[in-house]
């Protein structure tokens, strides 16, 4: 049971406090309601570039990192298609340092030309290092626009291409800040060895005077239902052929998400899983194959991916995965199999909850989705899932008209 309190400032900033007396640390986490989904299609990669710029100095504080390090702290951030998240871990006595830093950059960035120039180069190197210079690195850059034709999920967080990042102007940067960053578009989560009263008074001290900007309301037209199988083949200098197969499903908050999560575990979690046993060990079609879900806040994807054994062709590989789905539908799932997956889930959750940072980030994510209650009720949702609803989900989701296939041919 994860306990928390919350309050909201007049400027719209939602604040959540989670006390943990067993740790010497405090985590200060700020989640902003902006992600790659909010970008203009001709200006992609922006939310992520902006995340970098947030460390380039704010109006009153030239350097974000140095004062935090002086207080024994460490920080990092990440952006995805849905949100941008900033977190600091420091000794609990120094909570105020993190609040001073975070509140100043929420108030106003310094917007220096040097910062933009440098971070532009850094992000371009990141683009190369993680996506272009790695085997299979650009898979999602190629595959997203196949799965999503109109929805902003069609481009990756890093951006569609390097040119968009190269062309970003200071004007773009400033507009982005004023549109998306502000107390009314953020949740601040403070977790660790700190008292509620102390949190309330320090947060009020540093944040209450930050003026609210316009609340960001997004209007994204949902991606229409997929009505045909889609295929893309690309050739790359990689050691082996690979296949990716996706099926659309409900978003992170839908019941689909939990059903898909359990199905993906039944299919591919651990060495006793169906895909590993059947396709890797017994039939020797793959050297590795997995099933997992991508739970976007707007829409979900169920994904199969694998590297093929040397003399296996794509048709055989694809059919073998579809056959496993049919076996699941026809022969169903045993009680033991479901119990196994649920037991593994319980163990994993218990270990993950040991991390203060994990608890704090989860509180932030759930609050962004306006479902903070899930932090304690999600476990029960998994426990109560039954076999027939899993089979119905499988029948409904894994159909040809809901499928996209990317094959990567090794050259």
């Amino acid at each position: 049971m994860i306990k928390y309190n919350s309050f909201t400032l007049k400027n719209g900033l939602k604040v959540i406090h989670h006390q943990d007396k067993t740790t010497p640390m405090v985590v200060v986490n700020t989640i902003y309601n902006v992600g790659a989904r909010d970008e203009d299609e001709s200006r992609t990669g922006f939310a992520h570039l902006f995340e970098h710029l947030m460390f380039g100095g704010s109006t009153h504080i030239e350097n974000y990192d140095a004062p935090l390090q002086l207080a024994g702290g460490e920080c990092n951030a990440f952006t995805n298609n849905d949100i941008t998240n900033y977190y600091n871990t420091l000794p609990a006595e120094n909570l105020e340092t993190a609040l001073w830093l975070e509140s100043d950059r929420m108030l106003e960035l310094a917007f220096t030309p040097k910062s933009l120039e440098v971070q532009r180069q850094v992000v371009i190197e990141e683009f190369k290092q993680r996506y272009l210079n790695q085997p299979y690195g650009d898979v999602w850059l190629q595959f997203r626009p196949v799965i999503y034709k109109t929805h902003p999920y069609k481009w990756a967080t890093i951006g569609k291409n390097i040119q968009h990042i190269e062309e970003a102007t200071m004007e773009d940067v400033k507009n982005f800040f004023y549109k998306h960053y502000g107390p009314q578009n953020a949740t601040l989560v403070i977790g660790g060895n700190v008292e509620f009263e102390s949190v309330k008074s320090l947060v009020t001290k540093w944040y209450a005077e930050i003026p609210a900007r316009d609340k960001y309301i997004r209007h994204i037209t949902p991606e229409p239902k997929q009505t045909e199988t889609r295929r893309l083949t690309i050739e790359r200098k990689v050691p082996t052929n690979a296949i990716y197969m996706t099926f659309r499903m409900g978003n992170r908050l839908s019941h689909d998400h939990y059903l898909g999560d359990i199905i993906s575990d039944i299919l591919s979690a651990g060495k006793s899983s169906r895909l590993f046993q059947s396709l890797v060990k017994n039939k020797k079609l793959f050297t590795d194959v997995s099933a997992y879900i991508l739970g976007g806040m707007e829409d979900g994807i169920f994904l199969f991916s694998g590297h093929l054994m040397e003399d296996i062709d794509f048709e055989t590989a694809e059919k073998s995965i579809l056959d496993e789905i049919n076996i699941l539908i026809e022969n169903s799932i045993s009680d033991d199999e479901l119990t196994k997956v649920k037991n593994k889930f319980q163990t994993a959750k218990a270990f993950q909850d040991q991390s203060l940072l994990n608890r704090v980030m989860n509180l932030a994510m759930y609050d962004q989705m306006e479902r903070i209650d899930l932090i304690n009720t999600e476990k029960g949702i998994y426990d109560s899932i039954e076999i027939d609803e899993l089979i119905n989900f499988t029948k409904k989701t894994f159909t040809p008209t809901n499928m996209s296939v990317l094959t990567i041919k090794a050259i």
Binding site: L90, V118, S272, M309
Partner: protein, 419 residues
């Protein structure tokens, strides 16, 4: 309220090393146990002197370790996995150049059953041919993908030349070695090391006395010879080695040299020096090469310590066009630390950051056990962390400058470029 003025902060003063209970299971096998935990989780590490330095043929240590639960006369690998998974158990197999072992994770109400499944099947492993062949396929594929990465090529080549290619620490596998893996080699390694030499056990979690009894019974079935060997005869190459990779758009760079280990009098202060150079986000290398020039997504330096040796290294991946500039800047930063004193401000910042880092690294029982294992495997005193913090607090700019001059002679470095 003046936003330009930083709030007051306090320095982390000390961390308490929580020393686990030591329980002798047999005459020679030790169990270290931390039972003051906040939840129902249980983690059990079982570690042998079974690292790659003990193999006489490449890949033997890693394949043996990976296949410890791949089947007995009674159960197949799949059946064993099913049983463990059904209890909500997780198993990880861990290997480096010195140690090899197995870790069990589970909840306290299931851990005894999980351990029973583990011990029964570990003690009767037969390394079936079909499992060996399958793992060869899987690992070969992983190897091929990994060798496409400039960072892997660079690291491999650096490894070979920092220790010497004929030294056990310096040997690296090639694709051909995978096809030579044989079940008979694995069985021999398993018998002589995993069954005949003594492991050490590290347990974190609340368990009943009956669980400790199970560990005791199991320990009695194992051998207790001590097999630790000391690796010597390291030969570091000096100068530059370049590996070309067609079509790479970035080059991976590694620069370094053999160094002192954790019980050397220079170690603590050198760690402070290393942090300043490239050990955290505000380091000289990051500030120059990433934040000022934008050449890279990341650059850092570190000290890698093994049982019998250690090395200092700087590593990064940069656009091909700026490789020479990057190397120039790296040496510029090293020279600054050799020729100029670190300012009081910067020194304070780094000291405070390191103290905060110690706190972060001691958060929770599992982290505490990792701290203890550090002391155990490196033969350090129990005062290690206290002494380390004392050294950090008291190191002077002059001492750091002297250390930079002592250890950072360009002529002593190995440089590897890949891509």
């Amino acid at each position: 309220m003046n936003r330009a003025i930083a709030p007051e902060y306090s320095k982390a003063q000390h961390i308490d090393l929580v020393v686990p209970k030591r329980i002798k299971l047999t005459n020679k096998i030790d169990l270290y146990w931390l039972d003051e935990t906040q939840d129902d989780t249980v983690k059990l590490d079982m570690t042998w002197d079974a690292g790659t330095k003990y193999q006489s043929k490449k890949l033997t240590a890693s394949f043996t370790n990976a296949l410890l639960l791949a089947g007995t006369d009674k159960l197949t690998a799949n059946e064993i996995s099913e049983k463990i998974d059904f209890q909500g158990g997780y198993i990880s197999q861990d290997l480096d150049k010195d140690q090899g072992g197995v870790t069990l994770y589970g909840l306290s109400n299931k851990i005894e059953t999980i351990f029973d499944i583990f011990s029964e099947n570990f003690s009767n492993a037969i390394f079936p041919e079909s499992e060996v062949e399958k793992l060869i396929d899987i690992r070969k594929n992983g190897f091929k993908i990994s060798m496409e990465k400039v960072s892997t090529l660079c690291r491999q080549e650096f490894n070979k030349h920092i220790f010497g290619q004929t030294n056990e620490y310096g040997k690296v596998a090639s694709l051909e070695d995978f096809d030579n893996v044989k079940s008979s080699d694995l069985q021999a390694f398993y018998k002589s090391i995993y069954l005949e030499t003594k492991p050490t056990l590290f347990l974190v979690g609340k368990v009943d006395a009956s669980f400790i009894e199970k560990l005791r019974t199991w320990a009695e079935s194992l051998g207790t010879s001590a097999s630790k060997t000391i690796n010597t005869g390291f030969k570091q190459t000096k100068g530059r080695i370049e590996i070309a990779k067609k079509d790479a758009i970035q080059t991976s760079i590694r620069i370094g040299r053999l160094m002192v280990q954790k019980n050397h009098p220079d170690y603590y202060k050198f760690q402070v020096l290393n942090t300043i150079l490239g050990g955290y986000f505000g380091s000289r290398l990051m500030a120059n090469i990433r934040e000022d020039k934008g050449y890279t997504y990341g650059i850092g330096s570190g000290l890698s310590v093994l049982d019998d040796s250690a090395y200092f290294f700087i590593s990064t991946e940069v656009a091909k066009e700026v490789v020479d500039n990057t190397i120039t800047e790296i040496y510029t930063e090293i020279d600054k630390l050799k020729n100029e004193f670190v300012s009081e401000n910067e020194l304070t910042k780094v000291k405070n950051y390191l103290l905060g880092d110690f706190l972060r690294g001691s958060d929770g029982a599992i982290a505490m056990m990792e701290n203890f294992k550090n002391i155990y495997f490196n033969n350090l005193s129990e005062d290690y962390y206290t002494d380390f913090i004392h050294a950090i607090n008291n190191v002077t700019a002059k001492q750091l400058k002297d250390l930079a001059n002592k250890y950072w002679d360009k002529a002593e470095f190995l440089e590897v470029l890949a891509g």
